[in-house]
């Protein structure tokens, strides 16, 4: 093995320390939230804004309160419905669209490609979009969170790039045997692109999981249909924990509300944190495919 020079060694040590600090800066806020969520509300208040290294007087009281009313459970349920219905719709439309965009000898491909790409750079804007959805009578329906955002053009372009990169031989021989577009797409292209399709499905899934804005403007009557993120906004941003702290002493309410917020963040982020390490490499792959053709 080649010996490293002293300066190189020094650099590597400093680099490793620096990277460790960066990891700490990234992780600590999340750890803090976890510790705070498991701490006693009064102790947390006394502790003030100082750093936490472990939960203070370990308790799960905040979690019990967070589940006291079922808005979080309802939020989870609604988000799941949108995921289960929305992601397959998005995948179907994107795959079909990407297949079309990847064809070579289709007469209207050029003009349709241009019309689709144009929407990436110019849009009608927020108000006409809102009124369009309203005109379609989708207000207060979960469809308003599925159909208007069903295709993400950028995701579709990534898929197209992947389809274009497939070896043409298989498709050509299928065509010789008289296979039509349906057969080529569903029997050849899609089975060959499973990995990329999985990446895109994950992208759509994360998009649905994180979105809250459309729900906030389209779901106007009550919170029964709110997705998780909108429920979270009510609790974390608009400070509405009344239904959870009901029955608590007035003086305690504010303190308890803080703990509940930490618990709610943990409850809502846990699923992502738990599956993230296993799927991270797929996300990265998507960025790489996208980068090939900006």
């Amino acid at each position: 093995m080649k010996r490293k020079s002293f300066s190189r060694l020094l650099f590597e040590i400093f680099n490793a320390i620096f990277m460790s600090v960066l990891m700490l800066i990234t992780l600590y806020p999340l750890l803090y939230v976890i510790f705070a969520s498991m701490s006693d509300a009064n102790e947390l208040l006394k502790h003030g804004g100082k750093l936490l290294y472990k939960p203070l007087e370990f308790t799960l009281a905040a979690y019990k309160l967070a589940f006291k009313d079922n808005s979080i459970v309802t939020g989870y349920k609604n988000t799941s419905i949108i995921l289960v219905i929305g992601v397959p719709i998005s995948m179907y439309l994107s795959a079909v669209g990407a297949y079309f965009l990847s064809r070579k000898d289709v007469m209207f491909k050029k003009i349709i490609t241009k019309l689709i790409m144009f929407t990436m750079f110019f849009s009608g804007g927020l108000i006409p979009f809102y009124l369009t959805v309203r005109d379609l009578k989708m207000i207060d329906s979960l469809w308003s969170l599925i159909l208007p955002t069903a295709i993400n053009t950028y995701n579709m372009i990534i898929l197209r790039t992947a389809f274009e990169g497939l070896p043409p031989g298989l498709e050509e021989s299928a065509r010789m045997d008289g296979a039509g577009h349906m057969t080529v797409l569903f029997k050849i292209i899609i089975p060959l692109s499973k990995a990329t399709l999985a990446v895109i499905a994950l992208y759509y899934g994360v998009g649905v999981w994180n979105s809250w804005f459309n729900a906030s403007i389209f779901l106007q009557r009550g919170n029964a249909k709110w997705p998780l993120q909108l429920v979270l906004r009510q609790i974390l941003i608009q400070n509405d924990t009344a239904s959870m702290t009901a029955g608590t002493d007035l003086g305690d309410m504010e303190r308890v509300a803080e703990s509940i917020k930490y618990a709610v963040i943990v409850i809502a982020t846990m699923p992502v944190l738990c599956i993230y390490p296993f799927i991270q490499k797929y996300f990265t792959k998507g960025v790489m495919i996208g980068a090939v053709k900006g």
Partner: protein
């Protein structure tokens, strides 16, 4: 003989539109049927709103729609430009954008260069996994965390107070001067890892032979970085930078909505937030659509300019 020539004439005329159209329909009809729902999506949710832009020139009334509303031509635009907050909103938008370019653009590049120098594979992977993580946390949760951390009892407030000459006992978000730093710093925290992926990809594609040649020429590590590494990823940096400049006036409203309050409005109210407020809260559809159209056109102009510069400089273009 004459007949044959005529026949040939017909046969050669394969470029005629009707001929090509018929042939294309025969061959690709199933493809066109397949993409009907895709086209319907774009027509309904992308192009119909573009038609709705006509509202910008109307005294729009929701009951009668575009066909029934009165045309006021440029009145909405005049009102928009005459708004006492117009200048402030533009300045705030540019301020947030420029600050995030200055601090947020170089960060992932430097980070990628340093990650690339890590020699232990497992350590590299750990660093990547952890720093990409915040990208996947929802904006609502991020903003909830920001609000608690910079709150009167928050951990960031107490750190700031520790170093500050005059400590505060209220949320840092109530201080208009602190808004842009909070907004941009949290953005960098959330995205520097994820944004570094594209540079790491470019770095891993650098030809090893270039390094070998540099070593033979007696170049040390720093020299190699300056003469080989950076020039190799410069095209990626250029295109990313141009794209970033293209989106200078398109700061989104989502994070603003989640962080704004009456005390920081002075620096948090930006163009897109103004459109949201006028249109969806005050229901002044005509004015909000006019402001939105103004924003869309400016954004498009910036992207188009960025694209043509990129084409000249690096041969890389979006269209």
């Amino acid at each position: 003989m004459v007949k044959e020539i005529v026949n040939q004439g017909v046969a050669i005329n394969k470029t005629a539109f009707s001929y090509r159209f018929k042939r294309d329909m025969k061959k690709n009809y199933s493809l066109y049927i397949l993409i009907i729902p895709v086209l319907a999506f774009y027509a309904l949710f992308m192009y119909k709103p573009m038609y709705g832009v006509l509202m910008a020139f109307q005294d729009f009334e929701i009951r009668v729609g575009i066909t029934g509303s009165d045309w006021v031509w440029f009145d909405n635009f005049k009102r928009f430009f005459a708004d006492p907050y117009f200048k402030r909103n533009i300045i705030n938008t540019v301020k947030i954008s420029v600050t995030s370019i200055v601090f947020g653009f170089p960060t992932p590049i430097i980070f990628a260069l340093l990650v690339n120098e890590i020699s232990k594979k497992w350590f590299m992977r750990t660093v990547q996994t952890i720093t990409y993580l915040p990208h996947f946390i929802s904006l609502v949760v991020i903003c909830g965390m920001i609000r608690t951390f910079v709150g009167s009892d928050g951990i960031i407030t107490s750190i700031v107070n520790f170093f500050s000459a005059n400590p505060v006992d209220e949320s840092l978000l109530n201080n208009a001067k602190a808004f842009v730093p909070i907004f941009v710093a949290s953005d960098i925290w959330q995205s520097f890892g994820w944004n570094s992926i594209i540079y790491l990809a470019a770095l891993s594609a650098v030809d090893e032979q270039l390094y070998e040649a540099a070593i033979i020429d007696g170049a040390g590590r720093i020299r190699q970085t300056i003469s080989v590494t950076i020039p190799s990823i410069l095209p990626t940096i250029t295109i990313m930078f141009i794209l970033r400049l293209g989106s200078i006036l398109s700061v989104g409203y989502e994070k603003i909505i989640l962080l704004t309050n009456a005390f920081n409005a002075e620096s948090s109210e930006i163009l897109s937030y103004y459109i949201y407020k006028k249109g969806l809260i005050s229901a002044d559809y005509g004015l909000a659509t006019a402001a939105g159209l103004f924003n869309s056109i400016i954004n498009f102009a910036f992207v188009a300019a960025a694209n043509s510069i990129s084409k000249k400089v690096s041969d890389i273009a979006l269209w």
